[in-house]
């Protein structure tokens, strides 16, 4: 992405997200109050996050690669299961990946 494309991406996405926030407070409640809408939004949020986990962990461009990121994600999952705070989970994953790479080369 060029710098201009990046600016447009940042601004358009920000305005859309702000638009959703305003819609929730200003649109008539029945437009968004349908339980099916709420349920689908909930599932969509979870599915997007899951796909982002996958892409961040095993994708390298258009290749699927298993490297230090995967054990790092495993460590993060264990930390989350043990109810570690978010920042600990993130730092732990970075530390595991950095440590494995330092050992491996």
């Amino acid at each position: 992405m060029t710098d201009l494309e990046l600016w447009i991406t940042v601004l358009v996405a920000s305005v859309v997200c702000l638009g959703f926030k305003l819609a929730g407070h200003y649109l008539p409640e029945h437009w968004l109050g349908d339980p099916r809408v709420a349920r689908t939004a909930n599932l969509t949020t979870a599915a997007l996050l899951a796909a982002l986990v996958v892409v961040q962990t095993v994708a390298n461009g258009q290749e699927v690669v298993v490297d230090a990121r995967l054990p790092a994600l495993g460590a993060a999952a264990v930390a989350l299961a043990l109810r570690a705070p978010f920042i600990v989970v993130v730092v732990l994953a970075a530390g595991v990946a950095a440590g494995l790479r330092a050992l491996g080369g």
């Binding site: 920000s14 997007l48 982002l52 961040q56």
Partner: protein
């Protein structure tokens, strides 16, 4: 910002009523909260703000690593001000996705804020600029703290303190992270690429409690990994959203409707 707070937190009573009933529950109504109750809410709001602000550092660093300038990272944080969407945008940008894919990923993740607004609107009952400001501060954390309170006065107190607290600390610490990210150099050496995956997992984790969500997550993950080699960057993430929209229509409705919800905040001692 994160749904990092567990569901074993304080009362969820008012929240459930406002979500499931036609009318918001105002029976807890307009009782004047004691000074002690008010202090407890402010304390909770501030602890949530500090916890959320802290991982603003990781967002700032990841944004820089993905190729955003300091100014772009800050405009994104101040104007979008929604952690999941911000992480999604830099995730897609960092993996080489097209602008449209980045915009759509961030936007889909921003839809839930509209649903929070529907719940908060009647409880806050605001007009004019205060209503617009409240809309901007409508995120996982402020909704979770506000809707966990037993009276309207405490709902408002919780909303404003959490919204303002997260806004200030999140943006301040994103700035710190963006400056630090610039100074770090090679992101892989520090494991920052792995940190991004862990950040998304941390946002996803509290949502996995329901079976419908767990099933959707499993299918979405498989679809994403299968599409990585055969589609341009960014498309696997959007395909996962499409999967969820289809499943939202075809999965059997749970007995208790499962609605978009922030995980309840945990009061940290």
């Amino acid at each position: 910002m994160g749904q990092t707070y567990r569901a074993h937190g304080p009362r969820r009573g008012l929240y459930r009523h406002t979500v499931h009933d036609e009318q918001p529950d105002t029976s807890a109504g307009d009782r004047r909260p004691s000074a002690e109750e008010r202090r407890a809410v402010v304390r909770q709001a501030l602890s949530v703000s500090v916890a959320t602000g802290l991982y603003g550092v990781s967002f700032g660093a990841l944004a820089t690593v993905a190729g955003l300038s300091l100014a772009q990272s800050m405009v994104l944080s101040l104007l979008m001000f929604s952690g999941g969407s911000q992480f999604a945008l830099v995730g897609v940008v960092g993996s080489g996705g097209a602008p449209l894919a980045a915009v759509l990923s961030a936007s889909f993740l921003g839809v839930r804020n509209a649903l929070y607004g529907v719940q908060l609107g009647p409880l806050l009952a605001l007009h004019g600029w205060r209503r617009a400001l409240a809309a901007h501060l409508t995120i996982d954390e402020s909704t979770a703290v506000a809707t966990a309170q037993p009276t309207r006065a405490l709902v408002r107190l919780g909303f404003w303190w959490t919204g303002a607290g997260v806004f200030v600390l999140w943006n301040l610490l994103v700035l710190v992270g963006a400056v630090a990210g610039d100074a770090l150099g090679d992101p892989q050496r520090w494991g920052l690429d792995a940190a991004a995956g862990a950040a998304f997992l941390g946002l996803l984790w509290p949502r996995l409690a329901s079976r419908a969500v767990a099933l959707t997550v499993a299918i979405a993950a498989v679809v994403a990994v299968l599409l990585v080699p055969v589609t341009p960057a960014g498309v696997p993430v959007l395909a996962a959203a499409a999967v969820a929209i289809v499943l939202g229509q075809v999965l059997p409705r749970p007995r208790e409707p499962h609605l978009a919800s922030p995980a309840s905040p945990k009061e940290e001692s």
